[in-house]
Structure formats: structure tokens, C-alpha cells
Symmetry: C2
Subunit: 189 residues, 2 copies
DNA sequence: AAAAAACGTTGACATAGGACAATCTTTATA
DNA sequence: TATAAAGATTGTCCTATGTCAACGTTTTTT
């Protein structure tokens, strides 16, 4: 059950078996259904999630009822509503498994205790933040000044599996275009 | 000279005088002119900058010659081309002081040494990353699905001094609209 | 298994905001 | 200080993409 998680850590830091076992012991398994909501709009996010199987989506719905997807975590990666997890303020977004999923969950308390006590864990978390920051920056640059076709080409180049894995509607809401426009672009390659 | 920097640290962590002095000793002063470039497009970013006075801008120019501004650091905050600073790959962007500025500069080597040896410094860096991440996310949400007027209203609400401090052209390139459009919107409030 | 709901695709039409250009103003340079 | 260069503003026109609707398909619910 912890194979993928252990691989995640071992590939990122030299870390002793004993510490690794301790880290794993803080994670518990969670099986979810398609479209199951993990964190609601006005809740405060208390957990960090690792995806063994399936996919987590982070999205919000504005006052006009329009969805915007911000982040997708697929197999072998971490995901949560990080701003809320960090600041302990309401998420103003939803965390959802868009497919039947197997997750590993750690509480915020345990998570920050690991950060505080295990330097290798703190380092990995710092790298997650650094990478998250870089990804967000690339997305800002990537989308600023791109037209709809360029956005689609960008996502195909940067996350080839994305359009195959995610519904037309969700993909459109991630790219910041309408489902109609995405559909039209796909039909022309 | 280090007043503002010291205040920055003291307001964020309990930190001993001796360590604070050591941290400050790793920063050196740098005076720059208006529109002076600190890091060029194909360079690798080797420094972290603290703004005592003035303003740093991070921007890129695409193949069509269009500028996109990604980040502005004003008095009392840190700024650098973080993705390049972290990964040591070319920035593909420019770091520039848009006004005559007084900066404090620390080398990447010294910076990461402080991160490795001074837990309070590591914690503050982690908080910078967390905050940067959150800011980037807000910007993605904020701009996705906003029209030009809403973007301008957003920046007025979130960074009231922004439009007053930054040129029309730079502000437009941050908001992802043309200078003409920004100009028209401002003229209608 | 049938009915209902959600989603995907495609057409017709409307519009926000981009492109370009003219003019004025501010900033840089000689 | 004079001249040149860059930026700001505003007009006209045009296009990419949004909106809305119709229809077929897939998914969910009963």
C-alpha cells in the first residue's frame, strides 16, 4: 500500500528505513468514489493527500456558477487545498476525486510534526513548494498572451495525458476557455 | 542600512541577535538606476534581492516582442527570478529595477547555507515559498474568467498602490491586457 | 431496463478587447 | 536646453471567442 509513497520519498532524499516507516505510519488509506468531495468550499483543509490511484481535482465555482479548475494530482503525486492547509482559512474551493481513487491521507498536525522533526521530510516539503511555485509561474506566463489554440498546444506539450484523462468540461475550465471552444479546437487537431 | 531587513526577520521569527547579525553580514548593498537590468534572459539567477527602496520587476518578452510582467517587489520585500534561482537553469525572463533603487543582495550559495544552518531562516524561506505559492494561485483564480474591468478592480482591491506606482504599460502587461484597454478602463474609473 | 440528467459537439450570432494609427505628453539623450 | 525616443490616450475597425440553442451521446438514478 505504501510502495508508491516510499518510492516518492526515496527518489527525493536519502532517508533511513526507520524514519520512512515512521512517516508511512502517519498516513492512512482512504478509498473514494468518482466525484466524491473531500473538502468543501467553506471548510478548512486539514489533510494532505497522496494519490495511489485515481485523480484529485481542485476547483472553485464563482458567483455566476462558472467552474475554474486550478490543479489536478494524478497517481504518485501529492495534492491538497494548499492555501487553506497552510493558513487554516476556508478554502473557497473544492477538493474532489474525479475518479474512483485510492488515497493516502495525513493530518495537518502530523504533517507539520514531520516537517519539524525530520529534516529530510522538511526538505521534500520545501521542494514541493518550490515546484508548486514554479508550476504556478509557468502557468501564469503560459496562459498570459496565449490564445485558445496555443493554450491547448501548451497543455498537450506539457501534460500529454491531460486531455485524455480529464473531461472536456474540466479541461476547458483549467485552460480558461469554454467547453465549446475546446471542443472546436480538438476537432481541428 | 539593515533596519528594514532586520524588521523583516524579527516580525517573522524569534531569532537571536547574533544569528541576525550573521544573516545581515551575508547581504551586501547594491544601488541601481531606473530601468537597470539585474538578470538577463539567458542568465542563471545567482542572487536573492531585498528591496530597501525602489522596486524590482520580473518580466519576460515573447517572440512577438510582447512583454509580460510576472512579479513586482516593493520596499520591504524580497524578490528574485525564483525558478532560475532554485533550479539553476536560465531564467528566460528579466529582473529589473524600474526605479532608482537601494537593494540588499545575498548570493545563492550563502542563501542556501543560511537555510541549511539556521532553522529560523529555513522557516522564513518556507513561509516565503508558501506565500508565493498562495499569491500565484490567487492570481490564477483571480484572472481566470475575469474580464478586463474585473482585473483592474481586482488589482485596485488587492494592491491599491500598484496602478499609482507602476507605468500604464507595465501594469497592463501584468494584468494581461493591452495598454490601450487599461487606459480606456482607467478613464471610466 | 427505463427515464432523467449531465456532457459533448456544432451552428448562428454577438461582443469584448485586440490591432493599428494619429496625436499628445513625458522621459531620455546629445 | 533642444531633439529624439518612449509612453499615454483615444479613434476606427476587426477577429477570436463567448453566448445560446439544438441535438446526439454518455452517465447516473430509480
Amino acid at each position: 500500500m505504501y510502495d508508491s509513497l516510499i518510492r516518492y520519498f526515496q527518489s527525493r532524499a536519502a532517508i533511513e528505513k526507520e524514519q520512512l516507516d515512521f512517516i508511512c505510519s502517519r498516513f492512512s488509506a482512504l478509498k473514494t468514489k468518482r466525484n466524491e468531495i473531500l473538502v468543501r468550499y467553506d471548510e478548512i483543509c486539514q489533510h494532505y493527500y497522496f494519490v495511489n490511484k485515481g485523480c484529485i481535482r481542485l476547483f472553485t465555482i464563482n458567483k455566476e456558477g462558472i467552474e475554474t479548475s486550478r490543479f489536478f494530482a494524478f497517481e504518485g503525486s501529492f495534492g491538497t487545498a494548499l492555501p487553506s492547509f497552510i493558513d487554516q482559512k476556508p478554502t473557497f474551493e473544492y477538493l474532489q476525486t474525479i475518479e474512483k481513487s485510492d488515497l493516502l491521507v495525513i493530518s495537518r498536525t502530523d504533517f507539520y510534526q514531520l516537517v519539524a522533526t525530520i529534516p529530510a521530510f522538511a526538505m521534500i516539503y520545501r521542494e514541493i513548494l518550490e515546484l508548486g511555485f514554479i508550476t504556478a509561474q509557468k502557468r501564469i506566463y503560459g496562459f498570459q498572451g496565449f490564445n485558445a489554440l496555443e493554450k491547448v498546444q501548451w497543455i498537450i506539450a506539457n501534460q500529454p495525458q491531460f486531455l485524455l484523462r480529464v473531461s472536456n468540461k474540466m479541461a476547458a475550465s483549467y485552460l480558461g476557455i469554454t467547453p465549446s471552444t475546446l471542443s472546436r479546437i480538438k476537432s481541428k487537431l
